[in-house]
Structure formats: C-alpha cells, structure tokens
C-alpha cells in the first residue's frame, strides 16, 4: 500500500548523511594536500566511507522508486491529494500503517543488512590489499 515510503525515508536520511560525510572527507583531503610534502606516499587501499554510503543510498532510492511505480500500477498511489488511495478511508489507512510498520520496515532492514554485508566484504578486501601493500614494500 505504501511500504516503499519507509525505504524512501531511510534513503532521504542516507542522502543527507552521505553529503555531510562527503564534505568532511573533502575537508580532510584538503588538509592532507597542504601537508603532502611531510607525508610519505601510501598506496590507496581504502574506499572512502561516503562512497560506501552511496551504495546504500542508491539501493534505497532505486528500490523505492521502482516500488513506487508498482504502487502506481496497482492504483495505490494517485497524482491527487492525499496521493495514497488508502489514506482516504480510516480502516484502509490503519491497514496501510500496519503494512508500513511490518513489510516496509522489514524491507528497509533487509536492504540495510545487505549493505552491511557489502561493507564486510569491502573491509575484508581492504585488509587484503593493505597486507599485499605491506608485503610488496
């Protein structure tokens, strides 16, 4: 009915967090560039966290957009107020909220868990790359 809204809300939060982290990383990079002469050259073996956050953001926005289309297809989302057909009727509205709390929240949790899995794989690959870099030097 409107389960995609939960993921869309998480996507919005992920977008804001990504922007903030990206800004912080840029600032840190600028500071690093100023002191570049004093630093030894290190091989790049770490994926910036902002890039990892973009994986979550893209999954959530993409999934929400495609699911929103499905809801339009089934006539559950309409281009006029209140946009959600279930919101017009109190009984259906309660059912919609229940679906958001169960299916919607589970969807957001599963996508987030998949992202955490991706982070785990990325961390393992980063460790391996760091080890390779150490043995090479």
């Amino acid at each position: 009915m409107a389960c995609f809204l939960v993921s869309a809300a998480e996507a919005l939060v992920a977008t804001v967090v990504t922007k903030v982290v990206e800004k912080k990383e840029k600032k840190q990079q600028e500071v690093g560039e100023v002191h570049i002469e004093t630093k030894t050259e290190e091989p790049v073996t770490k994926v910036p966290f902002s890039r990892k956050l973009k994986w979550l953001r893209d999954m959530l926005w993409g999934g929400s957009a495609l699911l929103a289309f499905e809801h339009i297809w089934h006539g559950e989302v309409v281009p006029w107020f209140p946009f959600l057909t279930a919101a017009g009727d109190p009984t259906e509205a309660a059912e919609m909220l229940h679906e958001m709390a169960t299916v919607g929240v589970t969807m957001a949790v599963v996508v987030t868990l998949a992202w955490l899995g991706m982070l785990g794989v990325a961390a393992a690959l980063e460790k391996r790359a760091q080890k390779d870099a150490v043995t090479e030097s």
Binding site: D58, M59, G62, G63, L66, L67, E70, V103, T106
Partner: protein, 105 residues
Amino acid sequence: MTLLVTVFAAVVCTILWYKNAPESEMKLGVLCLMYWGASLMWFVDAIFEYAELKEEYFTPAPADMLNDLFLGLSVVALGLIIWLIVLIVKDPKGVVKSALLKKSN
C-alpha cells in the same frame, strides 16, 4: 514474476558491471544497486505474501502472471530510464558537454 524479472535484470547488470570494472564510465553500478535494492524489497514482499497465501502463492492465475510480467518489464524499463538520466546528468565521459560545446561553437 515481477521479482523474478527484476532479479534477472540485476544479475545481468552485475555481470556487465563486473566485465567493465574497475572503469565506471557507464555508471553501471548505479543500475545494479537500483535493481538489487528493488529485488530485495520485492523479496521481502514475496515472503510476507507467501506467509499469507501459503502454497497458493506459487500457483497464480495466468492473467495475474501476465500482468506481473508486464509490470516487471515496465519496472526494468523505468530503471533503465532513471539510469540513462543519471548517466546524462553526471556525464562521466564528458560526451554531452563536448557535444553541446561543439554545437555552440
């Protein structure tokens, strides 16, 4: 059926992404993540539906299956359109920029 179509799209995109990696000039990663995100969400939806319908879930009416197939294909098409917009706006190869500059010169 919608879940199946989206999963196939996600798998094909991931294979294409892997073939072209580490170059990301075509922004295929965005398309992969979009389809995987949708696939995971529909997978959850399918689990909830299965819990409600039990074995009936696996024997849908032909008309429903056809409708779901159309929906799945439309979803894939919409995903491709969104990806195309992202690609043109981000323009990682600078093709749009150079084409516009060429015209204005």
